[in-house]
Amino acid sequence: MTEWRYWLAEQRGTLLSLGIFIVMFIIYTSNHPAGLTANVVQTASNKGVLLAFVAMAQTLVVLTAGIDLSVGMIFVLTNCLASWLVVGTGIETAVGVVAVLGTGALCGALNGAIVIFGRLQPIVTTIATGAIYFGLALLLRPFPGGSVNEHLADALTGKLFGVVPASLVVLLAVVLLVWVPFSRSVLGRAAYASGSSEIAAYMSGMPLLRAKFAAYTLAGTLAAMGGLFLTFFTYTGEAALASGNAYTLFSIAAVVLGGVSLYGGRGSAIGAIFGALAFRTIGDLLFVFDFDPLWQPLFQGVVLLLAVSLGAFGLFRVRNRLDWFQ
């Protein structure tokens, strides 16, 4: 009984976002003209998975009490890169995938290095590096184009056994192979600790710098994973500024909906994934209710604004006003 309670408390944010997602998804499918079919689920999951990867990336950085405003641009850059590299024979394709992910890791590592060792503020740093990454993307794809290994693309965006969306399986694999080991490693714990109380973590002798660096680098890699999937999804690469900005913004919304604290130290990438899926579904709800798609950006903006305002309620518990000025 009590075991349950602690588990529940620990997973509250994640479960809440799962709940929001399920409710939204039920509303969505029950009003969808086609209903709950494998195809509807496949399309929804393909769109959701893109944001889920970027939201996971954002989670890693936010956990350390930082922020990465360049995730969207890494996403766009790796999309452009993949449209050049992930082609040809099986081996060429494999090398291409590795190169794309490696580029993402490099971008993340650069952010991390500047923030941690250069001691610059994460916001300005990632805005500036975001410009660099976008510039590189434009360099790669001044005009939309390119191609991708279509066999791979179709396999990963299709259905397994005619029912299960392959993209969801990949997402699950990444969670199990990347997020779970990280969150249970010493580095992962140090990342949480650095976001929760940097001084206490320092006093406890945790590897703070390495943990933060790992978080930024891993974030870049996950954003690249998203970029890769965008390429599989669209078969092309496009250096779209608006799409980069939107993904950065949505990743923050997903993280907040997913119960990850923007002050760091609390939350889980799994929560952020459900946050991303929920946010996507909320956005798509307007379609099934025959709203003018014009309302979608406003609707998403308001959801975001409400979500971040929720965090302010802790303020009313502050008893010593000096605690406002940490």
């Binding site: 660099i132 510039g135 434009l138 360099l139 604004l305 000025f325």
Partner: protein, 328 residues
Amino acid sequence: MSDTTMDRLTSRMPKLLRRADPAVVTAFACIILLLFLGSLYSSSFLSPAYLLQQLKVASFLGVIATGMMLVILLGHIDLSVPWTVAVGAMMGCAAAAYGPVGVALAVPFGIVCGMMIGLVNGIGVAYLRIPAMIVTLATNAVAQGLMVVYTGGFSPQDSAPDSMRYLATGFTIPGIPNAVIIWAVIGAIMVFLLTRTSFGRSVYGIGNRERAAYLSGIDTRRIVMTAFVIAGGLSAFGGVLLAGYASKASQSMGDEYLLPAIAAVVLGGTSILGGRGSYLGTVAGVILITLLQSILSVMQMPEAGRQIIYGVVIVVMLLLYGRTPANR
């Protein structure tokens, strides 16, 4: 000991030099360097007509960067610039569709709309204590949503009325574009505000140490909120001018002003952590960014290269000036 010898040394230097921020000096040195490089490339680079044209282009960024500077001095940031600029431009143009009253109120209406966005930002940051970056990103998204709905649903007038065109491109004093005069006036007001008023002192105080400012009996929340309102108004005013310059308002017109505005402020020596910086530096930063853009476009540098150079320049300059102290 070393402190006092330093003081003695510096007190012998001329006042102006002593007070000059190395970042501001560097920024001006870079401007001269850019002008020199430009003149090697094309002889027309140093002609008065070209320089005046640059100054006019710079004044749009200058107005926007003024608001950004105020917010950064407090140790916050305003990421809602892109759509606040667009809102100012689009609302100004839209108001002009409502007869002569609308035309007369076009400019103030655009600015007021921007101030409303600033007000939401300010309440979020000062009273709800949500990180500025997050609130302003969110209001940016809401502003975008509003504009998309408004233009899509109501197809408002998007061509700029004469008043806006006159402000941006007309001449009141022969030879000097109105935009430049406006920037100069706004700049002068900002310098006055920052150096001569209790509001300005409070801004620097809060930026340096909000805790100490609060314990000194300053209503820090009101000051922070006011600063965001002013920043919103200035961004929108920048949008109004841009619409006048381009003769029409468009949705994405603010996108290319966020990064340059932050860059101009930071390159001018204003600390991203707040509390330190002079308006002179921001002027230098604005001119520097504008010249950089101009040279890159004269050299026919593609957009890609421009973005990369921007990013690199900002990171490098920040690494030189903007680092937080080690060993917290």
